[in-house]
Amino acid sequence: MIKQKQRQLARNVAVVGAGMSKFGMFRDKDSKDLFADAYLNMLASVDKGVDPTDIDALYFGNFTNDFFVHQAHWGPILSDLIGLVPKPVTRIEGACASSALAFREGVLAIASGLCDIVLVGGLEEMSKLSTEKVTEGLSLAGLPYESEVGFTFPGIFGAIATAYFAKYGATREHLMNVTIKSHANARLNPNAQYNLSIRDIMNAKIEKAGMQGRPLSSWSDEMEFLRDPAVNPMVAWPMHLFDCSPISDGASCMLLVAEALAGQFTDTPIYVAGIGQGSGRGLHACDDLTSFEATRYAAKGAYEMAGLEPDDVQFAEVHDCFSVAEILHMEDLGFFRPGEGFRAAADGLTRLDGPKPINTSGGLKCKGHPVGATGIAQLFEVWMQLRGLAGERQIPNKNVRVGLAHNLGGTGGTCSVTLLERR
């Protein structure tokens, strides 16, 4: 085997602009409208402005708008939408990790010297179909052996949870800490699909029952609320409604430039410190049902490129498509030892004011998960935190300089880990 060289970019890349649409279920907006929102928000975020005619190319992630809205070949639709024609546009598909892969392609295009200024983005429009049809569409990202026996994505992560519980002694109750924390963070995020705390949702339900003259429910606390099958029904054991990210529409966008040009756009560029990507094998052939090999490989690549260790990462957005996933990812990324992630969540270590804030945006669970838009929306949150622009959800009492985004597709089939840094 040829000895592998240490992976470094041939020239460094800076993020000088970022934007996202609001995430949610929109009857009156389609993919183009949402991408336009994200693009215009990105343009407005560039401190010294950008001339759109200087953009060399667009790379964007989309999982399967083909299935969700019966339209393929989105590249020229988007390049025409934003006035990029005739410059190149490339769609990248990596299931729920599509746009983190698009980000990577944009970085590589600049690092190679081919491009100086690249737009990267993501989009997905899921809410026009029934829940059952969306579930079927998402199952396309699994392996045929999984979908043919009736596995769904909540089911795949439910099964992973049972393996994790059996191995480490965790319970459903431990996962509730993740849900409660995600809602608390999303409450402070105006772009989030569900910007309500669990307490807010409890109070709203009590108020609504009162107004309709129905018997008042009373829950002693958030845990009791989440244990109540009337409000938190089972989707795929042990995953219940509040363990699952929602069906969402949305788009995200970022502007990448070569390091030498960064000062023309902003005095506070955020640099790509490390990128890593990995692949994995699905439930039946993975080496461990409680860990994703693709994450471990992607993380190793990103850490090595950046010369950083897990302890150097001050906060992270991780791919919490389901509550249990957040626990696994924190362990795979090296933030906590295997089997200790659930205790860290229970002990509050991952809260906004904890030592290792995780998913300050509210995560996929509450911010929303328009699958192809998610990766760059995660990077958007990291970028906002690093620039101190996260408003009410800005990580308190820390001058954050290093953040990580972790984006996963399929049954751990595709993973991207990106480290961003403010120098």
């Binding site: 049809k133 579930t135 079927e136 009736g150 769904t152 049972t162 393996a163 439930l283």
Partner: protein, 142 residues
Amino acid sequence: MDERLFSDLSYQQFLDENKLMGSRCRACGSLSAPPRPICVDCHKSEMEWVQLSGSGRLSAYTCIAIGPPFMIEEGYDRKNPYCVGVVELDEGVRVDARIEGVNARQPETIQVGMPLHVRFLPLGEGEDARTCLAFEPAAAKA
């Protein structure tokens, strides 16, 4: 000797014949189910078929209340969930399968580690007929 391709199609054909088949690499002995045309351990492509015993243990499971359309057609829904899981066979490989003979309405009663035995589950009719890989508690087999 069976000349079928080491493919997903062959795996399904064998299931339709009520056989659970895997592939073994003649070069390094690595076993795979479903079968593989190329060994991912030694990268050779010299495979042979192996019939698997069909005995194993439950590695992970879930009981699904919101299934895909074909499961809804079978009568499964929020009130009538179904169980699927990952089964580690005695030979050391894992397969994805339906889990029958358990109470999917009471998922807590199902245990990771419980011994299971294969059951070939016929589904559909006519041109749509296929056999789905399923397992049931080993005790139910005896």
